[in-house]
């Protein structure tokens, strides 16, 4: 097995990196993949909470890098999915505790044992970002349909291209079909127009996401949730399947057009 390292990043904070990482991890595990999640947000760890694993942490990423714990001992197995593991971030240190080279070595240790290694990148473009991107085989850029988030995503894509990690694929998160129809929100077309990269997923706004994150049960386990369904579809696309984009509403001719566009384009 040669695991694929996928880094989830955004530049801007609060657009849904951690939620996306947790949900893609769970969705891939449900699809029978062996998955390791790495929380690279040292000093501001969150991924353990969203996965409901906070109380199981004994060792963390920095303990492994500094040799106080074996990698195997630090990996936390998920309660419901025995093929899903989390390597939590340290909460008491900062980004400089780990170097990009450390992250590359760590991922090389994980690759033989996992199908996917997902890295939750911290916000910003500094050391934490460079750590998270260094080992990546593919980068997913999360953005929201608003100008400031798209601006930061553009900056991130530029940095990825300069490091030969780009351009990556885009996940458009928290999309509201009715606001787009009224012209009050950027449409997926508007966003790809600026960023010029392929979309791998469009996740609708869903008020169930916050309570599910709070309770540590990722939304993709909720079969009636549209956001959960969208994450499931992204996981299938990461595995190489061609999954048409779902229409965000029944009468949404716009999204139907889009789904035709992307199912044809192989994104």
């Amino acid at each position: 097995m040669t695991g694929k390292v996928v880094t989830i990043t955004s530049g801007k904070g609060g657009v849904g990196k951690t939620t996306t990482t947790a949900n893609l991890g769970v969705a891939l595990a449900r699809l029978g993949q062996k998955v390791a999640l790495i929380d690279a947000d040292i000093g501001l760890r969150n991924l353990d909470i969203v996965l409901g694993l906070e109380n199981r942490i004994v060792y963390d990423l920095v303990d492994v890098v500094e040799g106080r714990a074996k990698l195997r001992a630090a990996l936390i197995k998920h309660k419901s999915f025995p093929e899903l593991y989390l390597l939590p971030a340290a909460q008491t240190r900062d980004k400089t505790a780990v170097s990009p080279q450390d992250m590359i070595q760590l991922c090389n240790q994980l690759r033989p044992e996992f199908d996917f290694i997902l890295i939750d990148c911290p916000a910003g473009i500094e050391r934490g970002f460079r750590n998270a991107v260094a080992p990546a085989d593919e980068v997913l850029i999360i953005t929201n349909p608003e100008v400031s988030a798209v601006r930061d995503a553009d900056r991130i894509i530029g940095l990825l291209e300069a490091e030969h990690k780009g351009p990556g694929r885009l996940i458009l998160n928290r999309v509201k079909g009715d606001m787009i129809r009224k012209g009050e929100m950027l449409s997926p077309d508007d966003v790809t127009d600026i960023l010029g990269i392929k979309i791998v997923g469009i996740v609708p706004e869903d008020e169930n996401v916050v309570p599910s994150s709070n309770s540590g049960i990722p939304i993709t386990l909720n079969n009636s949730s549209r956001a959960g369904k969208a994450f499931h579809n992204i996981a299938r696309r990461l595995m190489g399947e061609r999954v048409p984009f779902m229409s965000l509403e029944d009468s949404g001719s716009f999204f139907k057009r889009l789904s035709r566009m992307f199912s044809g384009g192989g994104g």
Binding site: R151, D154, R155, G158, L159, E161, A162, I194
Partner: protein, 227 residues
């Protein structure tokens, strides 16, 4: 073979040293030291422009190569690279850092002009989209074959031509040349400056983008269809 890893040539009043992008950093810097030592008298005192291509060079690596040159009497002044890591390292050491594409053209060194009446003026051509955070500066003209996204900036002493969508900040005639122009296939810059004049794009969304040119007429910037 070894020679192709390092290319040293005289440019203006200094040296331009180009290092192979792929070769392992320690071995290429060692090779560079050897090359300089072989002709130390010739190289002594030269100002060096170092082109590392797309290679990301960390700050400590940049410091070591700067020290390597210092010890041999060479002064590292400019670093050229496509890697943001490298540019940041150079910035941190107070070196002038530029994207590789922005450099004085030296291809025509020693060649007679093809046609003296059509000598033209120098500039830079960049064949990709400039994303947010990128800056291009030139003492000549700037041509972008791609888009200029919001958050990107171009500053040129001459004209600016964008074969794509211009949405960032652009300053033509930055040294005060009021005859400078800005051309774009889709002209919606965040801010457009020519010499000392400044304008912004109208807020309303236009129907169909068309090529336009911006220039100064009667003391203000006007934008007209490019014909």
């Amino acid at each position: 073979m070894r020679d192709q890893l390092i290319n040293i040539k005289g440019v203006g009043d200094g040296l331009r040293i180009t290092l192979d992008e792929a070769e392992e950093w320690n071995s290429i810097t060692a090779l560079l030291a050897t090359r300089i030592d072989q002709q130390s008298a010739f190289f002594n005192g030269a100002r060096v422009t170092l082109d590392v291509g797309a290679r990301p060079v960390r700050k400590d690596e940049m410091m070591s190569v700067k020290a390597l040159l210092d010890r041999r009497g060479l002064v590292l002044t400019v670093v050229l690279s496509d890697s943001q890591t490298t540019l940041d390292s150079a910035d941190a050491l107070d070196l002038r850092a530029n994207v590789s594409a922005v450099q004085t053209p030296d291809l025509v060194d020693g060649l007679a002009p093809f046609n003296p009446e059509e000598e033209g003026t120098s500039g830079v051509m960049i064949r990709r989209t400039l994303r947010s955070g990128r800056t291009v500066r030139s003492a000549g003209h700037v041509v972008i074959f791609g888009d200029v996204n919001p958050g990107a900036e171009i500053q040129a002493a001459g004209d600016v031509i964008v074969w794509g969508r211009l949405r960032g900040v652009v300053h033509a005639g930055a040294d005060g040349d009021t005859s400078a122009v800005v051309c774009a296939l889709d002209m919606t810059p965040t801010q457009l400056r020519i010499a000392g004049y400044l304008t912004t794009s109208p807020q309303d969304k236009r129907q169909r983008p068309k090529p336009e040119v911006a220039l100064i007429r009667d003391g203000q910037i006007v934008v007209e269809v490019w014909e």
